[in-house]
Subunit: 171 residues, 4 copies
Amino acid sequence: MNTDRKNVIGIMGPGQNAKESEIDFAEHLGELIAEEGLVLLTGGRATGVMQAAMKGARNKGGETIGVLPGKDPHEASDHCSKVILTGMGNGRNIINVLSSDVLVFIGSGPGTVSEFGLALKEKKPAILGPGAEKLWELASAMDMPPVIFRSADALEIIEIIRRSISTRISK
Amino acid sequence: MNTDRKNVIGIMGPGQNAKESEIDFAEHLGELIAEEGLVLLTGGRATGVMQAAMKGARNKGGETIGVLPGKDPHEASDHCSKVILTGMGNGRNIINVLSSDVLVFIGSGPGTVSEFGLALKEKKPAILGPGAEKLWELASAMDMPPVIFRSADALEIIEIIRRSISTRISK
Amino acid sequence: MNTDRKNVIGIMGPGQNAKESEIDFAEHLGELIAEEGLVLLTGGRATGVMQAAMKGARNKGGETIGVLPGKDPHEASDHCSKVILTGMGNGRNIINVLSSDVLVFIGSGPGTVSEFGLALKEKKPAILGPGAEKLWELASAMDMPPVIFRSADALEIIEIIRRSISTRISK
Amino acid sequence: MNTDRKNVIGIMGPGQNAKESEIDFAEHLGELIAEEGLVLLTGGRATGVMQAAMKGARNKGGETIGVLPGKDPHEASDHCSKVILTGMGNGRNIINVLSSDVLVFIGSGPGTVSEFGLALKEKKPAILGPGAEKLWELASAMDMPPVIFRSADALEIIEIIRRSISTRISK
């Protein structure tokens, strides 16, 4: 296994319908992820939580991967340092989930909910951040709860990411 | 548009972790869907809600399409009259959603949650049946609620399906 | 394994750029496939080889599955008795290949070439019909030739299909 | 459009069945791509043309993206600096094609042929390198030939890449 490869943290959240507070949180968390030397992965579009998180990461010199629904590179946010074009619409959500070592959810639009379901299904460590609290009850009602956390504190989220990575190590 | 083509109703729900009551409800709803002359679509595997719904539909002479995650036809339930092999794992969930004119959710495992999120995203009529009630609160908290219904009564669900089809007509 | 389920034959070929002779051949082969009691699967659009093959099959009372690149049901040919909407663009080609027990290629546009490559990769029985002869040389140059045939005679193609099915039996 | 983002060059070719000369060529071309400051994208597995091309690029300090068929990160070559896990099997081939600004084909296994068909379909600039010459005749027989080149000279391929990028500019 390549020990140089950096771990990838996915931040999932709404586009156009993201709330101001979610956008601010995403940008701050993106900064912290970059400062940790981790790679940020998002849905790649130039809007909402994905755009904000990538902006934060890039401002701190971090790397960002955007996995886009369409096939037009112009749809990608300028804050993507790498762009993956899938042409698969929302079918690309599974790729966001599988390609991330840990997932953080901010807000809870329809796409976010689908990615959370896939994270549970694929047993990925998932952290419910601001605006995604309501997904907690959903998950705790399931028979076999996977590795889920919740926190509205960015530093605590980074701490959970560190621990998740050190126990799973899937680069 | 082909006026002979039958409308397709997707029933989504857990596999191995489905509850007895959910399995019974799925089988009964499958029967009613077949009696309406509608085609049933599921995730196609030989377990849980999908298997039960297709069994019900087939017992009443209905047609069933199973959209499978894998590429081995032996994974398909015997109650699939048509099998679609995707080889895309849970990436196939988007196909379940897009190929159904109306979706009914029974139970709420991880995969079900992902399909519900995708149904919201794609603005498909979605009916929350037994075991899927907890998805209601999630949806109603969203800013732009799409066409969602809830009911634990199979006959009422059929009535909602009839109305959804007559207003949307997307064969 | 479900012994009632009918085998599925995929016919792959160009859309807009199909030649007149390829369209005629596809329609005739579609008729024969229906008369054999087999299900026809195509890319589902209302043009070229796919449209013609499904028209032939439907005229003889056969069943047809169209696996579409988009998510708009209006893009499906009226000759699809079942429509699968993938929203995955040309990413859906793998589904055409995996869901067919035997594949017949008529003509050789870009999409056809991609499906032929996938058929080789997935070791599916593949028959090169009229207009697809040039794919033969390509395949025979490969180190491990899979199950490939060529024929420009519709009745002979049906005979090859029968034999392929009886030796593989993957319903 | 992000003017900092580097263009992505896809190198497609066989895995286990790659010839020695194809592997050597791929490694050398990978080196040159890195020296041009371009990003290399491949199918990501630890074998054949993909592995060799990425090894070359990494040895010259370049960046490499591996788009994998499976969901196990251990299947990725150590020479991937970024790993995209799709879980879509050969369905991921479309992502390789769409995410590359220019594609180079070395060798011609089944998967390579499928990716070449998709490159034609998506009108991507495509360069046929050593072992892929036989795809030339196939493409030139099509009615609407897209942007295809052939060359067995690595420096000339780099020159074609430069020209393709400067005329298309799709970062």
